[in-house]
């Protein structure tokens, strides 16, 4: 057989493919290997072919490794966000809990009623301890939209094969978790503002109060530090809460918490550096927030629902009003909650 005929025989891609994929019959393999022994150019061709195929396989392996890395990163990011939500909730819980420490009546209001442009105290309908207030249409809409988005783990289920997503939907495999990561980033940003709100509402001292502790930003700073610590520890949230609680009980910090009043206008500055711009004003007709209130003997839990993204407009303002020793009034985004002490009721208006 001439050299050119031999080349023609080996250039039959199908045989080489079967050989390289290990799907060749014994008879055919023996024939091919006999032929290769007498045909250097064919051997060279097979060698090139083998390298190319090995390159394709190693590319696919690396692609899969990248997918695994992205899945792990996305999961880690989601856990971090969860911790931060817990931290935000814990901050509000503890900030409000200070009001419930037995034998510690709140200090008198700093500003006179006339200075506070507020209408008469709203009528209150007493309701059971756990009250889930209806989210505003905007918030509900966004939550519904959000729920429709897929989680990172869910995405591959619809695109079952490593390379198939490319082929079928034109979706690169690197996009597997991209949507979910984007969502996590959005949640993270939203949460950052929520933590800001919580921290500032709890730590801001009204002008003229004269009771400021050594550091008005203690709580916000503490959240950041503890969040990082909780992440390191994996299960560190309990320790974080205990730590936060013990620090909150210090007198100076309690004084900071016990005299919040007015509306905090938020900026987008990072926690710990921003200054709260306090303005006294009423905010009529604003939206309802999805907030869940639960009271135990000594603590009032106010949970900000992480399932629902807060509307931007709501995040602009937080008010913690205090109207007397029997109850506090919390206003978030214009929704006023009366939080009566020791009655187990929280009423939205």
């Amino acid at each position: 057989m001439s050299e050119s005929n031999q080349m023609h025989w080996v250039e039959n891609d199908e045989i080489l493919d079967r050989y390289l994929r290990g799907a060749i019959s014994d008879l055919e393999r023996a024939r091919l290997e006999r032929h290769l022994a007498d045909c250097p150019s064919c051997t060279q061709r097979l060698s090139e072919e083998r390298r190319t195929v090995e390159g394709i396989r190693s590319y696919a392996r690396e692609d899969l490794r990248d997918d695994l890395r992205r899945l792990l990163e996305t999961r880690s990011l989601r856990r971090r966000v969860t911790y931060r939500w817990l931290a935000a909730a814990a901050t509000i819980v503890l900030a409000v809990a200070v009001w419930y420490i037995p034998g510690e009546p709140p200090p008198p209001p700093v500003l006179s009623e006339s200075a506070f442009e507020k209408g008469p105290e709203p009528a209150v309908d007493e309701k059971p301890a756990e009250v889930m207030m209806q989210p505003p249409p905007e918030a509900t809409g966004r939550a519904a939209d959000d729920r429709q988005k897929e989680t990172p783990a869910a995405a591959p289920a619809e695109l079952p094969v490593a390379g198939r997503e490319d082929a079928r939907g034109g979706i690169a495999s690197k996009d597997v978790t991209a949507g979910a990561e984007e969502r996590v980033e959005q949640e993270d940003a939203m949460l950052g503002r929520a933590v800001d709100v919580a921290g500032r509402a709890a730590s801001t001292v009204p002008a003229g109060a004269g009771q400021a502790g050594p550091d008005s930003w203690t709580i916000a700073t503490l959240i950041d530090e503890s969040d990082a610590r909780a992440e390191e520890a994996g299960e560190g949230m309990a320790a974080f809460r205990d730590d936060l609680k013990s620090r909150m009980k210090k007198k100076s910090e309690r004084q900071i918490i016990s005299d919040p009043s007015g509306i905090v206008s938020l900026s987008q500055e990072p926690i710990g550096r921003a200054r709260a711009d306090m303005q006294r004003r009423t905010v009529p007709g604003e939206q309802l927030l999805p907030v869940r209130v639960r009271e135990t003997a000594d603590t009032l839990y106010i949970t900000l629902y992480p399932e629902t993204l807060w509307p931007e407009s709501v995040l602009q303002r937080v008010t913690v009003d205090r109207s007397g020793p029997d109850s506090i009034f919390l206003r978030i985004g214009g929704q006023q909650l009366r939080l009566p002490r020791h009655t187990g009721a929280a009423v939205g208006q």
């Binding site: 390159g55 190693s58 490593a162």
Partner: protein, 190 residues
């Protein structure tokens, strides 16, 4: 759609997940095998980072074995992955010992294992081929991966990728491979 719950799944469930190409199974495999692999590597001269890297590679090799049909479920998945990890770590230890002979770690604990089924390509050549593959259009990339890595038959590829039939898919594969060859040559010339 909510994330799938992957806890308390049997080996068979995991293998089926991998066969279906569900990438959440990667996470499950990673979590289940992390502890033994970390123990193996850290007790044999490696760090936790080394262990995680070995685990990444082992999980991917396991995936590949299941996908190309060469995994036969005779042993537990964990045992199988542990075996892969052992071989991968042995290979790395040997490489380290070659690179710095005076600083070689003892790898006797894993020295009975054969070399792992990793690529035989040199890093440089691998990069060259990968660069060429990245330049391919997405359809070509997918087709070549499905054929050479996933070991799928042309009929299946045609069905998945929406080609009229296996012959069309085969012709497209030929074109794609030729294109890849050209791109590799261009890279060589550059």
């Amino acid at each position: 759609m909510a994330a799938k719950v992957l806890f308390l799944r049997t080996d068979s469930d995991i293998v089926q997940s991998v066969r279906r190409g569900e990438k959440e199974a990667l996470l499950d495999l990673f979590d289940r095998n992390r502890k033994p692999v970390v123990t193996l590597v850290t007790r044999n001269g490696g760090s936790t980072d080394d262990a995680e890297d070995v685990l990444h590679e082992s999980v991917v090799i396991f995936w590949e074995k299941v996908r190309d049909g060469s995994f036969e479920q005779r042993a537990a998945v964990g045992t199988f992955i542990y075996g892969i990890a052992k071989r991968v770590w042995l290979q790395r230890l040997s490489r380290r010992r070659r690179e710095s002979p005076d600083d070689g770690q003892s790898d006797e604990a894993v020295s009975d294992a054969p070399a792992p089924d990793e690529t035989l390509l040199a890093d440089e050549e691998k990069s060259r081929i990968h660069a060429a593959i990245k330049k391919l259009e997405r359809t070509c990339r997918s087709l070549l991966i499905l054929f050479y890595w996933e070991n799928l038959a042309m009929e299946e590829i045609a069905r998945l990728m929406g080609f009229a039939n296996a012959q069309t898919a085969k012709a497209k594969k030929y074109q794609c491979k030729e294109k890849l060859r050209r791109l590799m040559q261009e890279n060589d010339n550059v």
